[in-house]
C-alpha cells in the first residue's frame, strides 16, 4: 500500500457520491430512489477501503500508518496530514461500517428531501473519517467542528416535532465547547509553533499552560461525550433525530470526545490530566449513577437509550483517565462496542417506530408473539448493553472497571453499581415493549422484520457476539498504541511524582 493515499480515498470518496447526487435529475420519486441507490453504492467504497486498511494495518506497531503528508497546505500554517494508529483505526472502521447501515435504515423512513438527506450523510461520513485520521490540529478542528453541520441539519430538518428546540440545544452546547477548544488550539500553536499532532504528542507543553489548555479542550470533549452535567442535549437530540441520525450520533459522534481525550488531553497535557483525574472520576461516576437512575423512569424508548448512552460514556471517561493499560484499552473497546450496540438499539427502536409512530413504551407490549425475529435480535443487543459476558459490551466494561479498581477501589465500586442499574432499566424496557400481555391491537398487528431490516441488523448481531468471544482481534491491534500513549503520559509527569510512583510500585 506504499504511497497510495488510502485514508484520503476513504475520507473523500463519499464526496464523489455527493457530486453524483447533485447531478441526478428527473421526477421527485425517481430522484429519491436514485439518490438512495447512489448513496448506498458510494458508501460501500469507504467500507471496502476500511477493510483494506484493517488488513494491511501492522498490529505490532504503535506508529501512525498510511501516513499522508502533502505539504500543499503548509503555506497556510498547517499541513494536510493524515494517518491512523491502533486507536484511531477502529474508529474509522466504525464510521465506514455504520454509514451504509444508516443509509439503508432510512430507505423507507425518509420520504421528504431524500437527496439532501443522503448528501448530508455522505458529507458526514467524510468529516467523521477525517476527524479520526487528521494528524494536524487545524485539520482536526475543521473536521471535528464540521461534523456539527450535517448533524445539525439532520436533526433540524428531518427530526421530530420538537426538532428546532433539540437542534438548537445541540448547537448551543457544542458551540460553547468548540470555541474554547479553538482558543486552546491557538494558544497551543502560539506556544509550540507547530500544528503537527505527532510532534505535539511527543512534546508536552510547559506545565503552567497545561492546566488551562486541558480545561479548554475538556470543554469541547466533555460536551461531545457527553459528560454530566453537559449531557442534557443528548436525550433531546436523540429523541428528535430520525433513526439514522440517532445511530450515527450514538455510534460515532459521541466517540469523538473520547478520541479527543486520548489524542490530545492525555499525551499533550499529561500533568494536567493527572491533576484533573479525580475531577473526571467524580463526574464519570455521577454520570453513571445519575443517568442510570434517570433512565429507569423514562417512558420514551429513545430517551431511555440516550440516557443509557451517557452512563456508558461515563465508563469511557473513567477508563481513559485511569491511564492504565486495562482502563484505556477497555475505554476504547467500550466506545467501539457501544457504537455497535447503541446504534443497533436505535435501529431496533426505529423498526417499531416506523410501524406505529410512537416511542412510548406503554403503547407496545406482547409483540414477541408476532415479531419473534425482532424480539430475538433486540434481545441480543439488550444483553449487549447490559454487558453480558459473551457480548462485546462486557469486555469494555470489565476492563474499564479492572483498570479503575487498580487506581481507586471506591470509584470502581460506585461505577459497578451502574452495571446493576443497567440491567434493571434495559430489562424493564425489553419487558414492557416486547413481553407482557397483548395490550394494543395495532401493536400486535405489526409485521416482523422485513428482509431489509433483518440484513441491516444481522451484521451488527454478528459483530457484537464475535467481539464478545474474540475481543483480542481488536485488543491486540490497539495494544501497542495504547502502550505508547501510557508511556507518553507517564514520562510527561513531573519527576518527583514519578519517583514516588516508582517507590510505591517497589513497595508492592
Amino acid at each position: 500500500m506504499e504511497g497510495f493515499p488510502l485514508l484520503s480515498v476513504i475520507a473523500f470518496s463519499p464526496l464523489a457520491g455527493v457530486l453524483a447526487l447533485l447531478m441526478i435529475r428527473g421526477a421527485p420519486e425517481v430522484v429519491a430512489l436514485n439518490s438512495k441507490r447512489v448513496a448506498l453504492f458510494t458508501s460501500l467504497f469507504p467500507l471496502i477501503g476500511g477493510i483494506f486498511m484493517y488488513l494491511f494495518f501492522d498490529g505490532q506497531s504503535a506508529d501512525f500508518q498510511f501516513v499522508e503528508d502533502s505539504g500543499w497546505l503548509k503555506a497556510l500554517g498547517f499541513r494536510y496530514q493524515m494517518g491512523v494508529d491502533g486507536i484511531s483505526m477502529f474508529f474509522v472502521l466504525l464510521s465506514v461500517f455504520l454509514t451504509p447501515i444508516c443509509i439503508l435504515s432510512a430507505w423507507e423512513a425518509i420520504q421528504t428531501r431524500v437527496r439532501e438527506y443522503m448528501v448530508a450523510f455522505l458529507i458526514l461520513e467524510t468529516l467523521m473519517v477525517g476527524t479520526f485520521c487528521a494528524l494536524d490540529t487545524v485539520l482536526f478542528y475543521v473536521f471535528f467542528e464540521g461534523v456539527l453541520l450535517p448533524m445539525f441539519l439532520i436533526i433540524g430538518v428531518w427530526g421530530g416535532p420538537r426538532r428546532v428546540y433539540a437542534s438548537y440545544k445541540f448547537f448551543l452546547y457544542t458551540l460553547l465547547g468548540s470555541v474554547l477548544m479553538l482558543v486552546g488550539m491557538l494558544v497551543l500553536y502560539a506556544q509550540t509553533g507547530t500544528t503537527d499532532i505527532r510532534v505535539l504528542m511527543e512534546n508536552p507543553v510547559a506545565s503552567h499552560l497545561q492546566y488551562w489548555l486541558w480545561l479548554a479542550f475538556f470543554a469541547s470533549f466533555a460536551v461531545k461525550m457527553p459528560m454530566w452535567p453537559v449531557h442534557t442535549w443528548l436525550p433531546d437530540a436523540h429523541v428528535e433525530a430520525p433513526t439514522a441520525g440517532s445511530v450515527i450520533l450514538a455510534g460515532v459522534l459521541l466517540k469523538m470526545g473520547g478520541y479527543g481525550f486520548l489524542r490530545f488531553s492525555l499525551p499533550m497535557f499529561p500533568e494536567a490530566s493527572a491533576y484533573f483525574t479525580d475531577f473526571v472520576f467524580v463526574l464519570s461516576v455521577i454520570a453513571i449513577i445519575y443517568t442510570s437512575l434517570v433512565a429507569l423512569v423514562q417512558e420514551d424508548m429513545k430517551k431511555l437509550i440516550a440516557y443509557s448512552s451517557v452512563a456508558h460514556m461515563g465508563f469511557v471517561t473513567l477508563g481513559i483517565f485511569t491511564a492504565t493499560m486495562q482502563g484505556v484499552q477497555g475505554a476504547i473497546f467500550q466506545m467501539l462496542s457501544h457504537g455497535l450496540i447503541s446504534g443497533a438499539l436505535f435501529l431496533c427502536v426505529g423498526v417499531v417506530y416506523d410501524r406505529l409512530h410512537t416511542r412510548e413504551m406503554a403503547r407496545y407490549g406482547g409483540i414477541v408473539k408476532n415479531m419473534p425475529r425482532y424480539a430475538t435480535v433486540f434481545m441480543i443487543f439488550m444483553l449487549g448493553s447490559v454487558g453480558l459476558p459473551g457480548t462485546s459490551g462486557f469486555v469494555g466494561e470489565f476492563l474499564v472497571l479492572l483498570g479503575t479498581f487498580q487506581v481507586h477501589t471506591v470509584y470502581a465500586a460506585l461505577a459497578a453499581t451502574g452495571v446493576v442499574l443497567g440491567a434493571a432499566y434495559m430489562l424493564m424496557l425489553y419487558r414492557r415493549v416486547v413481553f407482557g400481555p397483548p395490550a394494543h391491537n395495532d401493536a400486535l398487528a405489526m409485521p416482523d422484520l422485513s428482509l431489509r431490516e433483518f440484513w441491516i441488523l444481522a451484521p451488527l448481531v454478528v459483530l457484537v457476539l464475535w467481539l464478545g468471544v474474540f475481543p483480542n482481534q481488536v485488543n491486540n491491534k490497539i495494544a501497542p498504541s495504547v502502550e505508547r500513549l501510557i508511556s507518553l503520559y507517564q514520562t510527561g509527569q513531573p519527576v518527583d511524582v514519578r519517583a514516588v510512583d516508582n517507590e510505591g510500585q517497589l513497595a508492592n
Binding site: V142, L153, S167, L175, V230, V294, V297, L402, L427, N472
Partner: protein, 692 residues
C-alpha cells in the same frame, strides 16, 4: 472428550434456536435431548477417567481477553471437582430434557423451551469447567440469562416477567460482588487464572491492601466479595428473594435450574476457591453464619406456604444453607456431597410436583389438592422417595450427606460451628415436618379440588416417569455409593495430617499439595475410596481445618440427633395433617404474629421494595425533573434559548429558514475563525500569496 461434553448442548441450542421452525418441535426435542444425553454419557466417562484415576488436565481453546498483564483464555479445566459437577449437571439436565417432552406437550413453544434448556446446560458447563474467574463469570452470567429466559418463558404473564427481571437484577447485585472480588484478585495476585491464584495463596496469606480507603486483609476481603456473588446465585439470606418468585417458570426449569444446578453454583464457587478461603478464617465464619441462618429462616417460611412449588423452593434454599455452612467449616467435600445428593432428590421432588401439577390441571395450591394418591400411585411413591431423602432417613442419600454436614459443623469446635449445628438440627426438624405436610396435604385427606379437576387426574406418561425413576435411583443410592470417596476418612494420609497439624502454614500447604504425589502407588491402590486421592488438588483443606476427619469421631448423640428430629418432625406432620386436622388452625391462631411473619416471608420483599425499588425510582424522577430539566436546562441552554428567541423574534426571521440560518451562520463562523487563525499566525501569507 471434554469438548463433546461441554459443547454438544451449545450445538443443540444453536440448531434448535436457529432452525427450530425447519426441524419442527419433534426435531428440537430429539436434537436437544440427544445432545444432553450424549454429554451425560461422556461426563460419566470423564468422571471414571479423571476422578477415579487421578488425571486432571486442561484444554486451552483460544485466547479471550488480553490487556497488558491481564490475560485469560477460553479453556476447560477438567479435574475431580469439575467432572463431579459435569456429571450432576448433565445427568439431571438429561432427565429434565426428556421429562419436558411430556410436561410441555401442550405448550405451543416447545422448541424454544428445549433450546433454552440446552443453552442453560451449556452455560452451566462453562461455569464449572472454567480455568479462570472470567470464564467462570461468563458461565455465571450465562446461567443467569438462561434462568431469566426460562422464568419468563410464559412471557404473556406479567407475574412471570416480573419474576424473571427480579431474578436477573438481584443476581446482578451478587455479580457486582463477584466482579469486584475478581478485580481484587487481579490486583493482589496479578492473575485471575486458577493456577496463578492457587499457587500463590499461601504466600498471600498475610497480605494487606487498600480497599475502599481501608487497609484490609486481602484474602478475607476477596473471599467476602466472592461470597457476595455466591449469596446472590445460591439464594442465601439477603439476596434470596428472587428464588421463590422464580417458581413462575415451568416446573422442569425449577427442577434443573432452581434446585439441582444453577443455585449450587455459589457452593461450587466457594469450593473451587477453597485454597483462598482456607487462609481467610473470618470469611469462612461469615459463610458459616449466613449458611446456618439461611437454613433456618428458609425452613421456617417453608412451614407456612401453600404453593407446592414454593414449599420445595424454600426447602432448596434451606438445603443450600446446609451446603454453605459445611463450606464454612472447611468441609468442602461434605458440601459437594450434599450438593450431589440434593441435586438428585430435589430434582426428583420438583419433577414429582410437576407430575402432580400436570395431573391436577395446572393447580399448584396444596389447599386445592388432597386425596389423589390412589390415582397417581407412581408419582406418589416417587415423592415419598424424594421426601425420605430430603428428611434424611437411611438409607436414602440425604441421610448420609446431611449427617456428615452436621457432624462436620459440630466437629469444627468453634462457636459458629456449634451455632450452625443447632440451626441445622432445627431446620432438619422443620424439613421433616414440611415435607410430610406437603405429602399429606397433596395426596391424602379429602379431595379439595373441583369435580372436573378430580375426574381429570391421571398418571403421567412414561416419558415423564422414566426420568423420575432415574432420579429416584440417584436419591436412593448416591449417598451409599459416594460416601467413601467424597467424605470418608483415609488411612494413607492420616499420619501426614497429624504430623502437619501443629506445623506452620507453609509446610501445611506443601504437605497437602504434595502428599498425593509422594505415595502415588498407594493412592493408585486405593483409587477412589480415599477422600484426598479422589479430590486431588481440586479441593484444598489445611490439616488443622480438616473437620471432615474429625467429623467421624463425634459423640453418638450428635450423630443420631438429625435422625431423631427427623422422626419427630414426621410424627408432628402426621398428627397435624392426618389425625388432628384442626391443630394447624389452632396453632396459627395462637401464634398469629409469628405466623404472619413467616407466611409473609419475613417481609423481605416489602422491605427491599421500599428501600431499593421505590427509592431508585424516586431518585430517578428527582434527577430527571429537578436535576436535568429544572436545573441544568433551565439555567443552561433554555435560558440562553429564551434570550435568543427574543432576538430572533425581533429580527422577524423566526419562521421557516431557521435551521438553515444557523447552519449558515455556523459555516460562516468556522470559515471566519479559520481564516482569522491563518492570517493571524501567518502574516507573511499575504505577501507570499501576492508573489504567486
Amino acid at each position: 472428550m471434554e469438548l463433546l461434553a461441554v459443547f454438544s448442548p451449545l450445538v443443540a441450542f444453536l440448531i434448535a434456536g436457529l432452525f427450530g421452525k425447519t426441524i419442527g418441535d419433534r426435531g428440537c426435542q430429539f436434537v436437544t435431548s440427544g445432545a444432553v444425553i450424549l454429554a451425560a454419557i461422556v461426563s460419566i466417562y470423564l468422571f471414571y477417567h479423571v476422578a477415579l484415576h487421578e488425571a486432571p488436565y486442561k484444554t486451552v481453546l483460544s485466547s479471550w481477553v488480553t490487556s497488558g498483564e491481564f490475560s485469560v483464555n477460553w479453556a476447560l479445566r477438567i479435574d475431580t471437582l469439575s467432572v463431579v459437577m459435569m456429571c450432576v449437571i448433565n445427568i439431571v439436565s438429561a432427565c429434565v430434557h426428556v421429562y419436558s417432552i411430556g410436561y410441555m406437550s401442550h405448550d405451543p413453544a416447545k422448541g424454544r423451551f428445549m433450546a433454552y434448556l440446552s443453552l442453560f446446560t451449556f452455560a452451566m458447563l462453562m461455569l464449572v469447567t472454567a480455568d479462570n474467574l472470567l470464564q467462570l463469570f461468563f458461565g455465571w452470567e450465562g446461567v443467569g440469562l438462561a434462568s431469566y429466559l426460562l422464568i419468563g418463558f410464559w412471557n404473556q404473564k406479567n407475574s412471570a416477567n416480573a419474576a424473571a427481571v427480579k431474578a436477573f437484577v438481584v443476581n446482578r447485585v451478587g455479580d457486582f460482588g463477584l466482579a469486584l472480588g475478581m478485580m481484587a484478585i487481579f490486583v493482589v495476585f496479578g492473575s485471575i487464572n486458577f493456577d496463578g491464584i492457587f499457587s500463590q495463596a499461601g504466600e498471600m496469606a498475610e497480605t494487606y491492601f487498600t480497599l475502599f480507603g481501608y487497609q484490609v486483609h486481602a484474602l478475607t476481603a476477596i473471599c467476602l466479595l466472592l461470597f457476595v456473588g455466591a449469596v446472590g446465585k445460591s439464594a442465601q439470606l439477603g439476596l434470596h428473594t428472587w428464588l421463590p418468585d422464580a417458581m413462575e417458570g415451568p416446573t422442569p426449569v425449577s427442577a434443573l435450574i432452581h434446585a439441582a444446578t444453577m443455585v449450587t453454583a455459589g457452593v461450587f464457587l466457594v469450593a473451587r476457591m477453597s485454597p483462598l478461603y482456607e487462609y481467610a478464617p473470618d470469611a469462612l465464619m461469615v459463610v458459616t453464619i449466613v449458611g446456618a441462618c439461611t437454613a433456618f429462616v428458609a425452613a421456617t417460611i417453608g412451614l407456612t406456604q401453600f404453593d407446592i412449588k414454593r414449599v420445595i423452593a424454600y426447602s432448596t434454599m434451606s438445603q443450600l444453607g446446609y451446603m454453605f455452612f459445611a463450606l464454612g467449616v472447611s468441609a468442602y467435600g461434605a458440601a459437594m456431597f450434599h450438593l450431589v445428593t440434593h441435586a438428585f432428590f430435589k430434582a426428583l421432588l420438583f419433577l414429582g410436583a410437576g407430575s402432580v401439577i400436570h395431573a391436577m390441571s395446572d393447580e399448584q395450591d396444596m389447599r386445592k389438592m388432597g386425596g389423589i394418591w390412589k390415582k397417581i400411585p407412581m408419582t406418589y411413591g416417587l415423592m415419598w422417595v424424594g421426601s425420605l431423602a430430603l428428611a434424611g432417613f437411611p438409607p436414602f442419600a440425604g441421610f448420609y450427606s446431611k449427617d456428615i454436614v452436621l457432624e462436620a459443623a459440630w466437629a469444627d469446635h468453634s462457636w459458629f460451628g456449634e451455632f450452625a449445628y443447632w440451626m441445622g438440627i432445627a431446620a432438619a426438624l422443620m424439613t421433616a415436618f414440611y415435607s410430610w405436610r406437603l405429602l399429606l396435604m397433596t395426596f391424602h385427606g379429602m379431595p379439595r379440588a373441583s369435580e372436573k379437576v378430580i375426574s381429570h387426574v391421571h398418571e403421567s406418561p412414561a416419558v415423564m416417569l422414566g426420568p423420575l425413576v432415574v432420579l429416584a435411583t440417584g436419591a436412593l443410592l448416591a449417598g451409599m455409593v459416594f460416601y467413601e470417596p467424597f467424605v470418608a476418612g483415609h488411612p494413607s494420609h492420616e499420619i501426614a495430617s497429624i504430623h502437619t497439624k501443629h506445623e506452620n502454614v507453609d509446610i501445611d500447604l506443601e504437605a497437602e499439595v504434595e502428599a498425593p504425589v509422594v505415595d502415588e502407588e498407594e493412592v493408585a491402590s486405593h483409587i477412589a475410596w480415599n477422600r484426598h486421592a479422589f479430590w486431588g488438588e481440586s479441593l484444598m483443606v489445611r490439616g488443622e481445618n480438616d473437620t471432615l476427619e474429625a467429623a467421624h469421631n463425634v459423640p453418638e448423640g450428635v450423630k443420631f440427633m438429625p435422625l431423631v428430629v427427623g422422626i419427630v418432625g414426621v410424627a408432628f406432620a402426621y398428627l397435624a395433617y392426618m389425625f388432628a386436622t384442626g391443630l394447624p388452625g389452632v396453632v396459627v391462631r395462637i401464634f398469629k404474629p409469628v405466623h404472619a411473619l413467616l407466611f409473609n416471608k419475613w417481609f423481605f420483599d416489602e422491605l427491599y421494595d421500599l428501600l431499593f425499588v421505590k427509592t431508585a425510582v424516586l431518585f430517578g424522577r428527582f434527577f430527571w425533573k429537578i436535576g436535568d430539566q429544572g436545573t441544568i436546562d433551565r439555567f443552561g441552554p433554555d435560558g440562553s434559548a429564551r434570550a435568543s428567541y427574543k432576538v430572533a423574534a425581533l429580527l422577524g426571521r423566526f419562521q421557516s429558514g431557521f435551521v438553515y440560518q444557523y447552519a449558515f451562520v455556523m459555516m460562516i463562523a468556522v470559515i471566519a475563525i479559520v481564516s482569522w487563525f491563518v492570517f493571524k499566525l501567518n502574516p507573511g501569507l499575504i505577501v507570499g500569496g501576492a508573489g504567486l
